[in-house]
Every structure is written in structure tokens, then in C-alpha cells.
Symmetry: C2
Subunit: 191 residues, 2 copies
């Protein structure tokens, strides 16, 4: 029988990141993470496939949010669908999540296999967004170019949001980054 | 003493890909590759670090070509530096390389670790291009956005170049893809 532990997922997520920051990702065991919040290793594995997944399980929800937002966006050219989606998904990252996201990023950057997992997740996100754009009737190469652009703008904005001293909300950074992107493309509109 | 084998690198590269296509990447051993061109396993490892690297050793030259082209490009906005670089590097992919590139892509797509290696190489390429743009005085986030755009356009164009039935040169596909990209960005210039 699977017992219901209220908030176990969140407690494990917070505890794991704390340990990764304090003593390093490699040095932390699943047993330690579970024990630090009074749970067993077995319970940990009911919530997460492995030690890495604690840092990445939010990505599936994020991907679904992008896909849903593109499906529901008002009609328009590809990049306006992207702009709508970018605004929608920033709701996932309220101010209280910024410190967690910043620490998570530091842990990932310090560990090559985690960096690789992140690259894979971003590649998966790009594929899902490409499909969502095709479902809106956008053909290739526009669908692929727009999806890559979406992930680029999101990644650059997210990096900036978690940078030391940054105070703008992710929605604001995201809008500013998209504006920078348009300037970049416009500056070379004439060959 | 390291002996000089004329063209050994090329012979190993061609032989390896042939075997990967025929019998699968996983099923092919370094010994088989070497033997098929009359060389020893030891000689193989003087040319390539491992079985994967046969498919990726050109990436370092490609990266250097991007970096050099950006350094040497005439002054202009970020995306004009990128456009110059994209044109320069297409010289690496003459018509006679198209079949090899197409088969290489098929082998990579069929194998998860190879797909991951490719993602890592592309991430490294993006970082190198970002640095090259910063050296030209371009600040962030423009440098990162432009570098990501460069790799996006290159990847999309390359995919198209190796698609079945495609007859345009990589230089032409690349120019057309960059034009598509500008249309994409322009269509949403008005918020």
C-alpha cells in the first residue's frame, strides 16, 4: 500500500537541494536526503526516480504549460504565440522560488552529468514546443526556428532572473529579453 | 615511435561510419573498424579518443571556423557578424560530404548517448560563439541571444541540407533559413 505523506515531495525537494549545496551533489546519498526529513529511502523512490530527478521534476509541468499556452493563444504569427506562452509560464516562478532556482542552478553548473541532463530537458522542451506550433498550423522551418527562439529567450531570461542582484520579476525580464531579441533581428533586416 | 599513416584518419572515419550504418553503432567494435582498413586498434586510438569521437572530431574545426569568421567579419550589428560566419563555415560542407553527413545523422539519431554527445557539442559551440561575439564588443544578453540564433539557424539549415531530396547547397539553405528567421522576427515587431 502506498501511504499518503502530505507535502513529502516538496519536503524532499527542499532537503535535497540544501544537502547538495552544503556538501555537494556527488557526496549526498538518497538515504541522507530521506532521513533529513524523517522519511525512508523507499519513500524517496516513490516520489523521484533518482537523485538527479529532484532537480528536474518540475520540467515536465513547465513543458506542459508551454504546450497548453501555445494551444490556447489567440491566432497570430509564430512569435506572438511564443510571446503569449512566455508570459503564461512565468507564473511558475514566483518571487519565493527565486532563491531555490538560483541554488539549483549553482548545483547543476558544478556537475557535468547534471549539466547534460539539463541540456536533454531543454532539447525535449524544444521538441514539444515545435510540435505545439505545428498543431497551430505553422510549417517548418518556421516552427523549429520559433521553438528554438522560444527556448533561447526563456533560458536567457531565466539566467538573468537568477543572477545576483536582479530584482525584476521573471515576467519582466522575459518581456525585456524578447524585446532585445527583436532588436537583434531587426538590426539586420537589411542585408 | 608514432608512425605516419597517410590518410589513416579519413580511412578510419569512412570505415567506421560504414560499419555503424550496416550493423549498428553499439554492435561495432574499435577492433573491427581498424581491421577493416588494415590497421590496429592501437592505431585507431592514436587518431580518436573513442568510438563516438569518429563522428564528432570535425566539430572542433567547425567551432574554430565560426570563431575565426566572427573575429574577421566586417564591423556591423551582431546578426551581420553571424551571417558572415554562417556563409564562411558552409565551405566545410561541400557536395561530396552530403551523403556522409546524412548517414552520420541517421546513426546519431538511432543512439541516445550519441544524441547526448551532439547536444553537448552544440552547447560548446554556442559558448564559443558567445565569447567570440563578446570579443567583438557585443554585450549580453545580445551576445548570448545572437550566438544561440547562430547555432539555431545553422542546425536547422544543416538538417534541411541532409534531408532526402534536398538539392540546394548548404550555403543556399543557410541563407534561406536566415531569411526565414528574419521574417519570423519581423512579423512580431509590433507588440
Amino acid at each position: 500500500m502506498v501511504r499518503w505523506e502530505p507535502g513529502a515531495t516538496d519536503r524532499l525537494r527542499v532537503a535535497a537541494l540544501e544537502l547538495y549545496v552544503e556538501q555537494g551533489f556527488e557526496q549526498t546519498t538518497v538515504g541522507e536526503i530521506a532521513k533529513s526529513v524523517g522519511l525512508t529511502e523507499r519513500t524517496f523512490f516513490r516520489h523521484f526516480a533518482d537523485k538527479k530527478e529532484v532537480l528536474f521534476d518540475g520540467q515536465d509541468q513547465l513543458q506542459q504549460a508551454f504546450v497548453d499556452a501555445i494551444a490556447a493563444a489567440p491566432p497570430g504569427p509564430p512569435l506572438s504565440l511564443i510571446a503569449t506562452a512566455l508570459t503564461e509560464v512565468t507564473g511558475f516562478f514566483p518571487e519565493e522560488r527565486r532563491t531555490w532556482s538560483r541554488q539549483r542552478h549553482q548545483v547543476i553548473q558544478a556537475n557535468q552529468p547534471l549539466k547534460e541532463r539539463e541540456l536533454l530537458k531543454l532539447a525535449g522542451l524544444t521538441t514539444a514546443i515545435t510540435e505545439a506550433l505545428r498543431d497551430r498550423g505553422i510549417k517548418d522551418p518556421a516552427a523549429t526556428l520559433a521553438a528554438q527562439t522560444c527556448v533561447t529567450v526563456f533560458s536567457v531570461a531565466f539566467r538573468q532572473w537568477i543572477a545576483d542582484g536582479e530584482t525584476r520579476s521573471l515576467a519582466d525580464v522575459s518581456r525585456d529579453t524578447l524585446a532585445e531579441f527583436k532588436i537583434l533581428a531587426l538590426e539586420t533586416a537589411e542585408p
